[in-house]
Symmetry: C2
Subunit: 396 residues, 2 copies
């Protein structure tokens, strides 16, 4: 036994020294720690910093005035320096169950929590994440239930002229025999085909709701709505280079126009029920806008549509047949009697008025829809809630 | 057009302020930058730091003496502070094509490159990564070729008493009709079912070799060899908690013992050619050890075995029938006439002598094998090379 321990010791040391296969030896502190009383302690090691702060969406927000309106901004807490250069902060109260993002600010500059391997990428930024289980947030945890398969799948888009990547969830019961309905889930600006899986915890929500009988087994397809992009930044043949903010052709109608290519691909590669009654679509923000225009341009395609904090009410659109004659298309869409148009919006969302105006337009024509208003703004917390409430309504 | 730009501006601002869907606004500097002459510039922003250094496996190594032997350790370079607190370092020479790991050291403490969203996790550590294309490293890039599907799939292990996660690669030509051969690929200590996909770039290597006709289309299964673990740290039902170095039951024979469960699962869920002639297995370090003991304990299962920097020659093993009578099992294994036993090792690997001793044992019995010795030590650079050389030999 001694020799094997020596060997393992040598492997640990060897690989750590080479920075090629490291296993935790350079992590002297624990952070974050959920304490027994529900408070959370954050730690950051720096001998030389003069200030270490924490910002995260579990801290009380402050109001920020901008040319575009008033926004909630996460608060900032000060860490105190202790022995050995370890800075520490413990929340005064228990932190409510939720999936949170946070980072440190070291002498004014952003830093990740390197004691925490749980990091999410939002297209060009990294953020440390913290999942406090309990209540609604239990849906976001990996539980001891049957797990679906999550696949990165490529399809060819003739309209985009390239191969493009999708994330596809097939439930644990998918066996290549029984046909299943399909939900398409769209991200917002700044996202890609990874966003709902990482920030949205969508596959955990699906596993848990399906295991609990609250949602029917379904195939779920997470698309990439940046039509000029093959895939998430790491996965493009155009180079392993730094992504930028600029995503041309993200909102020019081409993605909506190309959507039937995706539906055809899924119907021809998976055991789907390839008809309107068994198709749903939803999206957040830009993806809510995409959802609207895809739904009304192809009124025979989707029976259920969910608009989450949707970027509706943008009138001066780029020229595209997709965006023309919304009123006429809405008439056709509702004439085809969709089972559900579901609209969710936070009561402090900067798109609240846009959504209220859109609902007024529907009301004026007597078009049916379901409306869900939640606390808070244009944030993932709401989108996770909306998805978990939308899923049980589908394919019943 | 003006209104849509305002809306997009508001969305950018709103989401950045909320740290919920950020798109690059907090990244004032570019790092790393591959310059036209092939040198690479790294930048880190800190107004207050007194020292910013860079370490990475592209820097000249230094020798480090340890109780376990002499190891190569990546060198350290000093960044120079410029205007606005931006520290900078440019390599003196062009950086050779390769997939590299690096991080900064700010006043003695590790920091990631936050201008670089390309971060890999090795079980409990994060590292910034840089891919310099060209030559062998072109195999590691996403090219404009047909891409396989990469899936996270769960199977039930009766021996482990839990559901466990696999990564499964199916090539672009996999259509659920034609049966394909299967390669099983095993990680080292410190890794999990993600390691070969992230640090190993295995799916890019597969896409590129298959597209080029240098490897035959095959299904590839990346297992999790930590038998007491359901999945990579983020994906366990035991909690969304910090992983530790301790992985009990990683080397006690139980993983090897349970391996037929994985093969049976794959054969019953994919269109495989379910016979020895069409099965291969390989692994690095601990996974090379697993490969050896799986191959010899189930001599009718695999026709091709690859041991990459394998942890062979560890004699005082935990008590398990898996590890008993290696000599007798080797005789049975070679009597069953495997098509290939492939052994690769770096000439400065700390396991070099263990592998030389193992080869001497094979030589003494006249057992056939193929040996590949490369420069360098116990590092991913070698394992990527070994995989890319092993794949073309399979299923011909």
């Amino acid at each position: 036994m001694k020799r094997i321990m020596t060997l393992i010791g040598a492997m640990l040391l060897g690989v750590a020294a080479l920075a090629q296969e490291s296993i935790g030896l350079d992590k002297p502190i624990e952070s974050p720690v959920i304490n027994a009383d529900g408070t959370v302690t954050f730690r950051y090691k720096s001998e030389s910093a003069t200030s270490v702060q924490l910002t995260g969406d579990f801290l009380p927000t402050t109001k920020v005035e901008t040319p575009y309106g008033t926004f909630d901004q996460p608060g900032v807490a000060e860490l105190q320096k202790g022995a050995n250069g370890v800075w520490e902060y413990t929340t005064p109260d228990a932190v409510a169950p939720e999936f949170y993002n946070y980072n440190f600010i070291v002498d004014g500059d952003k830093a990740l929590d390197l004691s925490n391997v749980f990091v999410n990428r939002d297209i060009a930024n990294l953020t440390s994440v913290l999942l406090v289980p309990g209540g609604q947030a239990d849906l976001y945890t990996v539980q001891d239930v049957p797990h679906g398969t999550v696949s990165k799948v490529w399809y060819h888009s003739g309209i985009a002229g390239m191969n493009r990547r999708l994330t596809v969830y097939t439930p644990a019961s998918y066996n290549g025999k029984k046909k299943l309905p399909v939900l398409y889930v769209l991200h917002g600006i700044g996202g890609d085909e990874d966003a709902w899986v990482t920030q949205g915890r969508a596959c955990q929500i699906l596993d848990n709701l399906i295991a609990d009988g609250k949602a029917v087994p379904m195939i779920v397809v997470f698309t990439n709505g940046n039509i000029s992009q093959e895939a998430a930044p790491l996965e493009n043949s155009t180079g392993y280079t730094r992504p930028t903010t600029a995503l041309p052709n993200t909102m020019d109608g081409k993605f909506e126009q190309s959507f039937p290519e995706i539906v055809n691909f899924i119907d021809s590669h998976y055991r789907t029920i390839a008809k309107k009654q068994s198709r749903a679509i939803c999206g957040l923000s830009m993806g809510g806008w995409h959802t609207l225009y895809i739904s009304v341009n192809y009124p025979k395609m989707f029976n259920y549509s969910g608009m989450f904090s949707a970027a509706v009410g943008v009138h001066d659109l780029p020229s595209s047949p997709i965006y023309e004659d919304l009123d006429g298309k809405l008439a056709d869409y509702f004439a085809a009697k969709p089972a559900l148009l579901w609209i969710g919006c936070g009561n402090t969302d900067f798109l609240y008025k846009n959504n209220a105006d859109f609902r007024a337009k529907l009301d004026a024509e007597g078009y049916p829809y379901t409306y869900r208003e939640s606390d808070g703004g244009h944030i993932w917390r709401n989108w996770r809630i909306y998805l978990s409430e939308f899923l049980p309504l589908l394919f019943r």
